[in-house]
Amino acid sequence: MSNLARAEGREPLIHLSKRAGISRGKAWSIRIIAVLLGILVCGIAAFLLIEKVQNNPEKIGEFYGTFIKGSFSTSRKFWKFLKNTAVLLCISLALTPAFRMRFWNTGGEGQTLVGVLSAIAVNFYLGGKIPEGILLILMLLAALAAGALWGVIPAIFRAKWGTNETLFTLMMNYIATYLVSYFLVIWVPSGSSTLGKLKNGRLPIIADNENILIVLIVVALTAALYIYLQYTKHGYEISVVGESVRTARYIGINERKVIIRTMILSGMLCGLAGYLIAAGSDQTVTTNSVGGQGFTGIMVAWLGKFNPLAMLLTSALIQLLNQGAMQISKDFGVNSSLTSVIIGIILFFIIGSEFFINYEVHFRGHAKKAARRAIK
């Protein structure tokens, strides 16, 4: 009872309640505050961990400036920023239809990688033997088909036998990686197993700029996917299946068909991203061609709430952080793991802000204040 006596007259210190709804303005102000806080904490981390900043505290401004410098200091960096954003966005867009259906496709990495591999395979065997235009088209078709295949296999298993798609798609990533190793051994039998840049199969350069076409393709894709998800029957079916399989069955949607169809699309768009990597910049394939963007894409899609237009922003933000962090590691002479820490801090705040958008936190005495306000 002594415990109780102490509790007498006290209300809990903190309690949480789910928000019924939140205005868009308020939600965005929470997000902006979160980003600002993240940047502030980054500064503190920099102060604690980076010697250069520690010794000259006035360099903290330069530290922040470097983030922007990474993407905007030269025209070359800026175009690199745009191109990398476009490829990342393309992968995120590819994952979006699946995610809207609550099909957790964690295989974007592998689906993209087999896209790269198939495009390069076509290039490797046919490059120089057929006209460049036809080669590019064949490469595209191969990449789309391979991506679609990689996407549809887990979908069939899920639709027919109810396997867990998260694990399945994840495992397919490894198969894709080893497949690339296998082909590299065949193509480059001796030595390093590194395939040099191929001469053919490069996307046309428009206005003296090799990146414009990639950016344009992805912008068009963003708009198309937005329309597909929002205004077509297929998009509607995806939303219904994602929200409730039972509702889908109730109105006669064959959810298996929708799952398979959507994963073909998702895989195919990953294949497109692979094509952009293969024909747009790399012209070669390594096991690291996609470089983890298949996973980063998951984050981009989540942060953008599976809305293609919002994902324009989130992919740019992630890319900005990446390039900024790289620049910091170069300019301040620090280990690249440290820059990962900095990116992690900012993402932590951004993702954490969603909690405060969904929940309200009350401190002791809040209720009385609210009551007083209500009376006024």
């Binding site: 006290r10 209300e11 309640s17 019924a20 509607y236 039972r246 109105i251 006669g252 209720a367």
Partner: protein
């Protein structure tokens, strides 16, 4: 003798965001009384009780027990003050026995002696007249037995104030009588009992006093023997309301749906429907009564094509006799085949065979509307999925029990939910939101759905308004058969009567209505015939105009009787 006050609430207020769930509620509960807390859904009854039992913490106000202010921050605090709540949804571990569940979570010193506990539990059961075997596992128990375990659990912990949240919702009439006997015995023992309900007849039968809540406010507390149904309703709803369901005699009742020897097995291979045979007539409301989980849901889902039946048939008689043939749901080939079988006649009752005619001429003739069906079309729905049923042109509407999990998509707005039924129409691959939007606006207007607009996610609407959207959509489809599973569950009186009126209007326009209900009073007032189910079988049919609740109650628990009779 002056009665002793056990529990006092003073100025209790609780907000959820902008919603005021309870507003300055004052309430007294005496020792040795049964207090009914009456109010419509969403009036704050459960919230108020949750604050007494420590689930929520009030924003303002005081709770006094035996005249002393207390702070209740958790269910454990509530137990320390001898308050216990029996929730609507039982919180029991299936694999444990009754006694094990009862002591679960108790931090008592000493050894865990199941024998002793069993004896104690049996003693409590005997004292208040419960029938309970302490060693029986929960998974072997009926709903009523599980409820008994919940009540004894609370008593075992020494509760003097018991709160029961809608305890009768899941019981048969006989079980309700038994529960009320137990409650009276507890009252005589000096316990205070608070019973939350929205059923007026139960309030009048069992309680000593009634506290009425409306929109979070305490309207009044009256002595039960000084009031009546009409007065209580008026206080509860805030205006006079007629509690009569106008039931018309069925006109032209013709068989519309005939289910024969239907058997259904669930995923685990357990038989959930056994030899179901019945006929639903157009122009009639067929009630389906039974304890929850007797196969009602499976039956409706099997008819709607959501569960593949093992055998039997579901025949639908499409009322086509003397109506023009159309190409809406039939191909030219199918029309020619049917004509060859003599299914059509012209305006002068002569046979139409299309023999020797060219396709174009046939098309023209059919489109002129002069080719008529000779008989109603007979179609077997078994083995067809919902889309195939729809493509046959069968207007079968289904209001499922699980509104937001099956009938509607909670995160979508009203327009997009209207579209669920019709999105496949027109515009090639693109959606047409114009017509569904008009339909949504019409339903909002006609059924007085309270919503900020057509683009509000239906999840944000109250239960009654969600149901109006769902029923409105299903009726807008101009059904020939309308199946509704628990369509008024969780709805307030006003909304319930709107739904009853809608069902009646459908019946009057010739629809075969099937109504799965849990409130026997409503079934008796609304339906023409009532079919009773238990354990996946039909245990009987009764005429709703002449039967009694007791008769239905007996059929609801009748088990293998028919088989026993057959064996003898």
């Amino acid at each position: 003798m002056e009665k002793q006050i056990a529990l006092q609430l003073r100025g209790i207020t609780k907000r959820f965001g902008p919603v005021l769930a309870n507003k300055h509620v004052d309430l007294d509960v005496y020792r040795g009384e049964i207090l009914a807390v009456l109010g419509e859904n969403g009036c704050g009854k459960t919230t108020l009780m949750n604050m007494i039992s420590g689930i929520y913490y009030p924003d303002e106000g005081q709770i006094l027990i035996d005249g002393k202010e207390v702070v209740i921050r958790s269910p454990k605090d509530a137990f320390d003050h001898r308050i216990g709540m029996i929730h609507q949804h039982f919180k029991l571990v299936d694999l444990f026995s009754a006694a094990e569940n009862i002591v679960l979570g108790l931090e008592k010193k000493g050894r865990y002696n199941l024998k002793e506990i069993n004896a104690e539990v049996a003693k409590i059961a005997e004292r208040y007249g419960f029938h309970l075997d302490p060693a029986k596992k929960i998974y072997d128990m009926s709903v009523s037995e599980k409820q008994t375990v919940e009540i004894i659990k609370v008593l075992y912990r020494g509760a003097d104030i018991l709160i029961l949240d809608e305890p009768t919702a899941v019981l048969t009439p006989q079980e309700i009588t038994r529960l009320f006997d137990v409650l009276r015995r507890m009252k005589e023992d000096g316990k205070s009992i608070i019973i939350i309900t929205h059923k007026l007849n139960e309030v009048l039968e069992v309680s000593d006093r009634v506290a009425i809540l409306r929109r979070g406010e305490h309207i009044a507390t009256v002595n039960t023997d000084e009031t009546n149904e009409a007065e209580l309703t008026e206080m509860m709803v805030g205006r006079k309301i007629s509690l009569n369901i106008s039931r018309s005699a069925p006109v032209n009742a013709v068989p519309r749906l005939e289910v024969k020897d239907l058997n259904l097995f669930d995923k685990e291979g357990i038989q959930v429907l056994k030899d179901i045979t019945f006929t639903a007539n157009g122009g009639e409301i067929l009630g389906i009564a039974g304890i929850a989980g007797s196969g009602q849901r499976q039956l409706l889902e099997a008819i709607a094509g959501l569960q593949p039946a093992a055998d039997g048939s579901v025949l639908f008689y499409n009322p086509k006799k003397d109506r023009p043939v159309t190409f809406y749901h039939k191909s030219l080939k199918k029309v020619k085949e049917m004509a060859a079988q003599g299914a059509f006649h012209d305006r002068n009752l002569n046979d139409v065979s299309f023999r020797g005619m060219r396709d174009k001429a046939i098309r023209k003739w059919v489109e002129s509307g002069d080719v008529l069906f000779r008989e109603d079309e007979e179609m077997n729905l078994r083995g067809k999925d919902p889309l195939e049923i729809r493509q046959l042109g069968i207007h079968l509407s289904f209001v499922p029990e699980d509104r937001l999990g099956m009938g509607l998509v909670g995160s979508m707005d009203i327009t997009d939910n209207m579209m669920l039924r019709s999105y496949r129409k027109g515009h090639a691959g693109f959606l047409d939101r114009k017509k569904p939007k008009e339909q949504a606006e019409e339903i909002i207007r006609e059924l007085q759905v309270v919503t900020p607009g057509v683009s509000t996610p239906v999840r944000r609407l109250s239960g009654g308004n969600v149901q109006k959207v769902l029923v409105g959509r299903e009726i807008a489809y101009a059904p020939k058969v309308l199946m509704a599973a628990y369509p008024v569950r969780g709805l307030d009186i006003g909304a319930s009567y709107t739904i009853y009126r809608l069902l009646n209007r459908q019946k009057e326009s010739g629809v075969a209505v099937m109504f799965v209900g849990e409130d026997l009073d409503v079934l008796l007032e609304l339906c023409d015939r009532i079919m009773v189910m238990n354990g996946g079988r039909i245990t009987g049919f009764v005429d709703a105009r002449t039967t009694t609740k007791e008769e239905i109650g007996l059929l609801m628990v009748r088990t293998e009787q028919r088989e026993e009779e057959a064996h003898e």
